[in-house]
């Protein structure tokens, strides 16, 4: 498509946007003012679309002229050289560990949540990215972890280091219990069952207020206490401040990445990839699909449960609202946006999706109102431009990929074997 044709399309799109948006933005009917019609807002929307479209077209035209060679060669060199990649990774972790020493309090706490979400996304990647199971209720396992931890500390005065693994174990158990009946189902049927479980768990935490504090949460008006309290020996370190939480969350993420990377290179990992590509063929090769699925599902839940420990300590309180359907959707979006099956992609996805709204809020207060609007638009735009995800290898999920179809014409990451994607640092190709 030439620049001229693209610009023509942009103009058409702008006109269409103005027409489509008019009934809702140009028309109000209230008891006080009666019905009011105006053309201005719709025109403004048309102009915004026009401006964005022109900028995008020009950018695409410019992008096509940039020689691609050096960037790709650098990416290849990095991927080929394990020692270099490893030391870069080590340096990155050290750099991240030093962040609380120089970053502001606000940024450190933003990053704590990013690290937690990254851990959950990497965990979810086991069942979604590797095994190809769509899970729409992952927040439930996060909630089970967070509540188990808080309940054990507040009601039973457990030590942090006892309650922490217990949270993971409880979430894994929940994963097992849901997984057993649910894994007979395929694809979207499984998705809706996990969704139902996610909602049901949230309602249990909401309604059984005598134990869980109801809407007020733990600790709240109904269940007083302190989740940060030290029970047991005082010399034993446990996270209490924001900085502590940061380091703890970082450690958890590193541990999670290490385990998931090892898993993806193991027998089970290969079985999971086989399952994702073709369940029937995997079965024919002698893979016990139910067992493998159950392991993937339970492992995902386990990491979400462990990650659930951070929020009670970090915020000092948890409420059921934190674990709603939007959280589950956010996790799925992180994994898919980053690229199914890619560990580095999940982390990147989590960082982009969590930090993007924060940056929009902090740096551009003028568009504060439009924050979520932009978030939704960016989510769609990113998928349209790069359907396989930021760091994804082509061909994830059930459908076999048939070449980059988006208007950006994103090329497929060339023949990277799924397991190798875990090493990450693929040079981003498309726009």
């Amino acid at each position: 498509m030439g620049l001229g044709e693209r610009l023509l399309r942009v103009v058409l799109a702008a006109v269409a946007a103005a027409v489509v948006s008019w009934p809702l933005v140009g028309f109000t009917a209230t008891a006080e003012k009666g019905a009011v019609l105006s053309l201005l807002p719709a025109l403004r929307i048309g102009l915004v679309v026009l401006a964005l479209g022109v900028v995008y077209s020009l950018w695409l035209a410019a992008w096509a002229r940039i020689p691609r060679g050096p960037l790709e060669r650098a990416g290849d060199a990095l991927r080929g050289n394990r020692a270099l990649g490893g030391s870069l990774l080590g340096a990155l972790v050290l750099l991240l560990a030093a962040v609380p020493l120089f970053a502001s309090r606000a940024w450190t706490s933003n990053l704590v949540e990013t690290l937690v979400f990254a851990t959950i996304a990497v965990g979810l990647n086991i069942s979604m990215g590797m095994a190809g199971l769509l899970v729409l209720g992952h927040a439930a396992f996060w909630a089970v972890g967070a509540y188990t931890f808080s309940l054990l500390v507040v009601h039973l005065h457990w030590n942090f280091w006892l309650a922490f693994p217990a949270a993971g174990a409880a979430a894994a158990l929940a994963g097992l219990v849901v997984g057993l009946p649910a894994l007979r189902l395929r694809g979207d049927y499984l998705a809706i069952v996990t969704l139902g479980f996610g909602e049901a768990i949230r309602w249990v935490f909401k309604n059984e207020s005598a134990v869980t504090g109801g809407d007020a949460g733990i600790p709240g008006s109904e269940v007083p206490g302190d989740v940060r309290a030290v029970h047991g020996p005082a010399w034993l370190w446990q996270p209490r401040t924001t900085e502590d939480c940061y380091w703890f969350a970082l450690g958890l993420l590193v541990l999670c990445v290490a385990c998931v990377t090892l898993l993806s290179r193991s027998r089970y990992g290969r079985a999971l990839f086989a399952l994702r590509e073709d369940e029937t063929a995997a079965k024919c090769m002698g893979i016990d699909t139910v067992r493998v699925k159950l392991i993937a599902f339970t492992a995902s839940a386990f990491w979400a449960g462990l990650a659930g420990v951070v929020h009670p300590i970090f915020r000092g309180q948890i409420t059921p609202q934190l674990f709603d359907f939007n959280a589950s959707v956010l996790f799925v979006a992180m994994v898919v946006l980053g690229g199914l099956g890619s560990v580095a992609g999940s982390i990147l996805g989590a960082a982009v999706l969590f930090i993007l709204p924060q940056v929009l809020r902090d740096q551009f207060p003028a568009i504060q109102e439009y924050r979520m609007l932009l978030f939704g638009a960016v989510l769609t735009a990113m998928m349209v431009v790069r359907p396989e995800g930021l760091l994804g290898a082509a061909g994830g999920g059930r459908a076999r990929s048939g070449g980059g179809g988006g208007p950006g014409g994103a090329g497929e990451a060339a023949g990277a074997e799924p397991g190798a994607a875990a090493c990450g640092t693929a040079a981003g190709g498309g726009a």
Partner: protein, 308 residues
């Protein structure tokens, strides 16, 4: 008891109408249209705005309530159809050959976008259906309630039931009796083959989205009538329930969606009657789980042989 069955039936038939949109899109694209609830919300807004404008202009008083409702309904259908069409063009068509989870995320993006777009355009407070006028009361007021044995039927219940039944029958006839309906069925069986025998697959997909959105608009207006308001986040719960209903009946199956919707409505109102309202939102999922354990592909879902 019988009264709660009626409530369930009325709510269930609204769910069924929404579920039809999900199931039609799923049947053809194997895609969960996450933004379907938002199209419903857009339709609800359009109908409330138009009807309110007519009320303020005095047209409802001079022309009567039912013709004005019809105008509002048509406007809602038009606007929602336009939104459904645009949605497919923007968020789904470019991703038709992408990995299967990508359109889902793109749909979630559109859903967030549409919610916030309407919130910004119309405010986060609900807009109210002007249900307190004399002419509205003359048609839908308590004086017109019908007592059938122990059950009290309100005119609104009757209106909703009749409209939903008409729509379901109409859709069924469309899909099974017209050329375009036949093309839709063919496309849902096999997109490539349908293309090879001369069906314009893109057009069929567009039509499917428009029809689903038009149905959602009707459901949106009925919900706005039932709760006398439209709010920017109303599409979420309605969409969730309807999606559950579609899966319950066997997703991709029209009769399944209708049956699933009505069963879901009944399960919910009976559940509230006997078990209390604390877990109101959960009954639907419990029923779903029980059904799926016995029939993993829904009540009317066929056991399809896996293609290898």
């Amino acid at each position: 008891m019988l009264q709660s069955l009626l409530t369930g039936l009325v709510q269930g038939s609204i769910y069924a109408i929404i579920a039809l949109g999900y199931t039609m899109v799923y049947g053809i694209l194997v895609l969960i249209n996450f933004a379907h609830g938002e199209v419903l919300m857009v339709g609800a807004y359009a109908s409330v705005l138009v009807y309110a404008a007519l009320t303020f202009a005095g047209t409802t008083a001079s022309l009567g309530v039912l013709p004005c409702l019809a105008v509002a309904l048509l406007a809602a259908m038009g606007v929602a159809g336009l939104y459904g069409f645009s949605l497919e063009r923007i968020a789904y068509r470019p991703l038709r050959h992408a990995p299967s989870l990508s359109p889902l995320i793109s749909a979630i993006g559109m859903s967030i976008f549409l919610q916030n777009y309407v919130r910004l355009a119309q405010g986060s407070a609900p807009v109210y259906f002007p249900a307190h006028t004399a002419e509205y009361g003359a048609v839908f007021g308590e004086t017109n309630n019908i007592q059938v044995g122990p059950v009290l039927v309100t005119p609104l219940d009757l209106f909703i039931l009749v409209l939903c039944l008409l729509l379901m029958a109409g859709l069924y006839a469309f899909v099974h009796r017209t050329r375009l309906g036949k093309a839709m069925r063919a496309t849902s069986m096999d997109k490539t083959m349908a293309g090879l025998v001369g069906i314009s697959v893109d057009r069929v997909i567009s039509v499917t989205f428009v029809i689903g959105s038009v149905l959602a608009a009707v459901a949106g207006m009925l919900l706005a009538l039932y709760t006398t308001q439209a709010k920017f986040d109303m599409g979420f719960m309605a969409g969730m329930k309807a999606f559950t209903a579609a899966v319950l009946g066997g997703i991709g199956n029209l009769r399944g969606a209708m049956l699933g919707g009505i069963l879901l409505g009944l399960a919910e109102s009976v559940g509230i009657q006997f078990l209390g309202a604390d877990y109101k939102e959960v009954y639907a999922f419990v029923v779903l789980l029980l059904v799926l354990v016995v029939r993993p592909r829904g009540i009317l879902g066929e056991r399809v042989a896996e293609k290898v």
